[in-house]
Amino acid sequence: MCEFCDIVQGKEQAETLFEDEDILAVLHLKPAYPGQIIIFTKEHHTIIEQVPDPVVQNIFKVANKLSTVLFETLNIQGTNIIVQNGTAAGQTIPHFSVNIIPRSENDGLNFQWATKQLSKDEMETALLELKAHTEGIHPDMFQKQKKTIEVKTEEPKPVKLDSKKEDYLIRQIIRIPRV
């Protein structure tokens, strides 16, 4: 019944780009931007909270590499990595996945949300509520990664943004964020 499980089982055709023991990466057939990649776990998990830590690590390492591949292959100036976790977040297939969307200037896409103005009190409450649930989080509880990863780690490669690279860095600095 699950589209991604069908792809894993070979019942559904897909433009497969990468595969290892945990995950599968395919081209999105109806991309927001041509070259959009979708990575999902081979095992059926609905939301990220259900995905074992080592698989989470693996999937995002691969996401980063594939993002680099998009940079180096397509004439793009950016990528978005988006996880829609739950129907309220726009998730349509009940199987955890990561989207990598290539981006270029004036590509007609816009994920820029409107900000909500919260009062100081509301922010304070949100902080307390969250902290009550984050106090127990500690790196020691993260499940260790498997030693035998199929894909060898390597030094992060600098992304070539062509001539735009220099400009990009400069613009990054000029556009000092207003916080």
Binding site: C5, P31, H44, I48, E49, I81, W113, L130, E150, E155
Partner: protein
């Protein structure tokens, strides 16, 4: 902070041209508000931190409880980060998302990364946005539009990408990904068996083809917490 005048921009460009990548990074760091948040020079509402990462509340949130998760090391974009850092950040993101679901009874979360100005990146410090989501929260802007493209384009894209992928992942010739052909009758792809996981590591050995996957309990404690997560997963039904 202030906008920079065109003259200053020119001067800045000149200055940056002569800098080594290391100097450039130092320069960026000095001018980075998020580095100042990390060092404590700028106050923030901290939610979580460890040796590699810091999570703070976004003061301009998309929703109440919107978290910014920052690597403590300054990086502009994700490809500049080491794999260890990336792996660590996203594990933390998983647990922070879980905390949001519990704290706000959120019905989901969006984990959002923008690499580059064209992708809507506004800060020069790489970060993850973790946004709690609710039904009808007016954030449909975060939905990913779907566009029809010709199948021939997909084929071309795949060919171009696969070459680079094999290079980047340094795949051996035999492991080159072959295109999946339509209905295969043989068994679904099996993971390579020689690779034994660490003995102490309990890895679900269940194969995905079994419809009823045993859900691995999260390393969290009470059943009540489990329930709230299951509720989110249940929303699909």
């Amino acid at each position: 902070m202030v906008e920079i005048s065109p003259q200053d921009q020119e001067a800045l460009k000149e200055k940056l041209k002569d800098m080594s990548p290391e100097e450039l990074k130092e320069f960026q760091k000095k001018n980075c508000i998020f580095c100042q948040i990390i060092s404590g020079k700028v106050p923030s509402q901290q939610i979580y931190q460890d040796d590699k990462s810091l999570a703070v509340l976004d003061i301009n949130p998309a929703n109440k409880g919107h978290i910014l998760l920052l690597p403590k090391e300054h990086h502009s974009i994700m490809p500049q980060m080491s794999e260890e850092e990336i792996a660590h950040l996203f594990i933390v993101a998983k647990y922070l998302s879980q905390a949001q679901l519990k704290a706000f009874k959120a019905q989901g979360s969006t984990i959002f990364v923008a690499n580059g100005l064209a992708a809507g990146q506004r800060a020069q410090h790489f970060m993850l946005h973790i946004i709690p989501r609710f039904e009808n929260d007016n954030l449909s802007v975060l939905n990913i539009p779907q566009k029809q493209i010709p199948e021939s384009d997909l084929e071309k894209l795949r060919e171009a990408l696969i070459k680079k992928i094999n290079e980047v992942f340094k795949l051996k010739k035999e492991t080159f990904i072959e295109k999946k052909t339509a209905p295969v009758i043989e068994a679904p792809p099996e993971p390579v068996e020689e690779k034994e996981p660490e003995p102490k590591e309990e890895k679900p050995k269940e194969k995905p083809k079994k419809k009823k996957t045993t859900k691995k309990p999260k390393p969290k404690k009470t059943e009540k917490e489990e329930a709230s997560l299951d509720d989110v997963a249940e929303l699909f039904k």
